[in-house]
């Protein structure tokens, strides 16, 4: 579905992503993990067309993204950011339905779809008519996910989607989100710095460091057989008490 071919990105003379190639598996969940500044968010933004690569190509469904087709392509991607990125002047329902209405859906079509999505994301109905400032962080994130799913895109891009949530809310939402991805057979690409989340979501985990892929595969593999010191340090930094072996491996 999504493919990077030797894509690199730099801001000024600072390179944030070395030439990198990734073929994201359709229908699977891929997690990009690494510390701040490793290039994982830049990579996601390149996929969404928010940034253009300095070299290489970003292919979506076999077509290279460019300024002419990006608007169309975005209707086929759902994008979720930390705290939802909701428009504060619109109610939850208006946020979710904005794009569909702009594309000319009827009120009834919009209403039906919002109902479905509220069920799917387990958003309490009263929250639909409230403004983002009037609902909880977890509810905001659920509305953000609904908005991303509104046009039923095959791909979901999630940038630290749980970053602003407390652990209990986070736990519930992770469960729900995984169920949704599985049920709808979405290609999901999630950015996080949390190993637990990566292991929970990721069919495939890609660890980035200083603009390069450091290691990829299953999370367990990274923990048990870290490719280098960098991975070891990152894994240890998570202080996972259930896996004392990881410490021994260094």
């Amino acid at each position: 579905m999504f493919k990077l071919e030797e894509v690199s990105k730099s801001f000024g003379n600072q390179t944030v992503l070395q030439p990198t190639s990734i073929d994201f598996q359709t229908g699977k969940s891929t997690v990009l993990i690494g510390p701040s500044g490793c290039g994982k968010s830049t990579l996601l933004r390149l996929l969404a067309g928010l940034l253009t690569p300095n070299s290489g190509r970003v292919l979506f469904d076999g077509v290279e993204l460019n300024t002419r087709n990006i608007m169309q392509m975005r209707h086929r991607m759902g994008y979720v950011i930390q705290d939802g990125g909701l428009f504060p002047h619109l109610t939850s329902a208006q946020n979710v339905g904005l794009m569909a209405r702009h594309l000319g859906w009827s009120d009834q079509q919009v209403q039906i779809r919002i109902d479905e999505l509220a069920d799917l994301t387990r958003l309490p109905r009263p929250a639909l008519d409230r403004y983002p400032g009037q609902i909880s962080g977890g509810q905001r994130q659920r509305v953000g996910i609904m908005r991303a799913l509104m046009l039923d895109p095959p791909v979901m891009l999630l940038d630290e989607p749980m970053g602003a949530l407390d652990p209990l809310v986070r736990y519930d939402l992770q469960e729900d989100l995984l169920k949704i991805f599985r049920a709808l057979n979405k290609t999901a690409i999630t950015v996080t710095h949390d190993m637990g989340e990566a292991g929970f979501f990721g069919d495939h985990v890609i660890m980035l460091g200083e603009g390069c892929i450091v290691q990829q595969g299953k999370l367990e593999e990274m923990i048990l057989h870290p490719a280098n010191d960098y991975v070891t340090r990152f894994v240890n930094a998570q202080r996972l008490p259930t896996l004392p072996n990881a410490r021994g491996a260094s």
Binding site: F87, L90, Y131, G133
Partner: protein, 522 residues
């Protein structure tokens, strides 16, 4: 949509033209020449304007007196662009202000003949003196002057014990106290600096014995003062003369001839006594001027019954009509400003360099003094015959209203967090849809507050409209100040303040109504 806007503009244009020239071109009066007379915003000038008006009207002409215009430059612009045909000015002013540019270019402007020649080059003719010289003088109470035997300024040298009290303008001027003291070798050192009006009281109470005054001030008569003879001819002369467009002689020869009857018509005492009737007895300028002409030239004008300014019905009528005029200025200028400033603000938010330029330019406009701005825009409107009246005032108000709205729009859009911007972008909304559905609604509170600021400032600033004959509350204030009439000042100032409060409150309500609840109360 487009033709509708075009026809709206044409309509507005037409309305403005009518406003500025209500005489129109009615067929009934096709034969009667139309004549415009002007005057400045001080009483003597208004009386002189009424005298000119009576003389012109008496020939059967249709006359419009543009009273109380805001200054020499505005009168002069109006005269050369043909908005008015004649007004009375003073030789000193003609030399120092109107012909200052000619003098700078090297032409010698000293005698009245020099002035007449220089003015003729601009198709303006200057009459012989009207008969009085309105300049600075030093004045004393007649009784004290007589007792001490003082008749001229030189005599003050022998009376160092006298207390002098001057207005601060007189103390500062380059034809004021310091050079005067030097010229005459006066010994006085302790000067009381005081308000001009208070100086008259000071003379009356004998707390000062000598004050500066204008030779035709009505108070000269009221307080029985004498102006000391300027025996060394220190003060520049300000002889009143009529300035008239040359083309009036061919267009309306009878009117031109009648207007020239002003030459040698008025003595200093007569001028001062007419001013006293208006300022001290609160009589109307038109009636005072008419009575003077009836007695001096036996014109036999029929004059309206005396009506005092301060009468209940008149107050209401005046407040209502000035309110309409004021609202007209405010609403049109604000409307045009909103239509232009919001797009400008959006443009500014799109490109940093362009943004700084736009904000810089509208910021500079804001710092221009209103008088300068008016004098600047008047000639542009004069091309369409709208140099005097609401059009230039609306233009000035429009320009002043731009900054708050442009800045409100710019800041409102700029303050939208990057995450919200990106969310709109990745949803797949194109730039226009993002602007309409996300950016403008989010910027709305900031835009509204910019419009509110502009409206409140506009209500206050619209009082300058009176300077160029656009009416509004400013005309009550201006006349009130001129006549030292507190009631009249309040008839302008109170409604203006009330209107500003209404605007403030109205925008509060509007904000509650149209701004998304999601953006309120935070």
């Amino acid at each position: 949509m487009r033709p509708r806007i075009a026809s709206l503009l044409v309509g507005l244009f037409g309305y403005l033209s009518c406003f500025s020239n209500p005489l129109g071109t009615s067929a009934v009066h096709a034969q009667a020449p139309q004549v415009g007379i002007g005057s400045k915003s001080f009483t003597e000038s208004v009386i002189l304007g009424e005298l000119l008006s009576h003389l012109a009207k008496n020939t059967g002409a249709q006359v419009r007196h543009r009273a109380e215009l805001g200054g020499t430059q505005i009168l002069w612009q109006a005269l050369i662009t043909g908005e008015i045909d004649a007004y009375v000015d003073y030789t000193g002013t003609i030399r120092e202000e109107i012909l200052a540019d000619v003098a700078r270019e090297g032409t010698k402007i000293e005698s009245e003949g020099d002035m007449r020649n220089a003015l003729a080059a601009r198709k303006v003719s200057m009459s012989e003196r009207v008969g009085f010289n309105n300049t600075y003088a030093l004045g004393m109470r007649r009784s004290i002057a007589q007792r001490l035997g003082i008749t001229k300024i030189s005599d003050l040298k022998n009376h160092p014990e006298l207390q002098l009290g001057f207005s601060d303008e007189f103390v500062e001027r380059k034809d004021g106290w310091r050079p005067l003291k030097e010229e005459y070798g006066l010994p006085h050192t302790r000067i009381k600096v005081m308000d001009h009006n208070l100086a008259y009281r000071g003379l009356e109470k004998d707390s000062i014995q000598v004050a500066d005054l204008y030779t035709t001030d009505p108070e000269v008569k009221y307080y029985d003062l004498v102006a000391l003879e300027d025996d060394l001819a220190f003060f520049p002369v300000y002889y009143a003369v009529v300035l008239m467009r040359e083309d009036l002689t061919s267009r309306a020869p009878k009117v031109a001839e009648a207007i020239m009857r002003m030459q040698g018509l008025i003595t200093p005492e007569e001028m001062s006594s007419m001013s006293a009737e208006v300022r001290l007895d609160r009589r109307q300028e038109a009636i005072v001027a008419g009575e003077f002409l009836n007695s001096k030239l036996n014109l036999g004008l029929s004059l309206p019954q005396e009506g005092r300014w301060v009468e209940g019905r008149k107050i209401i009528e005046r407040v209502v009509s000035t309110t309409w005029e004021h609202l007209f200025l405010v609403l049109i200028s604000l409307g045009l400003a909103i239509l232009s400033a919001i797009p400008l603000g959006i443009l500014a938010s799109r490109n940093e360099a362009l943004g700084q330029t736009v904000l810089g330019v509208v910021g500079v406009i804001q710092t221009l003094p209103s008088m300068a701005l008016l004098v600047f825009v008047m000639p542009l409107f004069a091309l369409f015959g709208m140099g005097i009246g609401p059009a230039p005032a609306i233009m000035a108000l429009f320009l002043y209203s731009l900054l708050p709205i442009v800045r409100g729009t710019y800041a409102g859009i700029k303050q939208i967090p990057a995450s919200i911007r990106e969310s709109a972008e990745v949803l797949g909304l194109d730039a226009r849809a993002r602007l309409r559905l996300v950016e403008l609604p989010l910027a709305q509170p900031s835009i509204l507050s910019g419009i509110k600021t502009a409206a409140v400032i506009n209500v206050g600033t619209a009082t300058i409209g009176a300077l160029i004959g656009a009416g509004g509350y400013g005309s009550s204030i201006l006349t009130g100040i001129r006549l030292n009439d507190l009631s009249l000042i309040l008839q302008g100032a109170v409604p203006a303040a009330a209107l500003a409060l209404v605007v403030q409150y109205g925008f509060g309500l509007l904000e509650k109504k149209i701004v998304s609840p999601g953006l309120q109360g935070s």
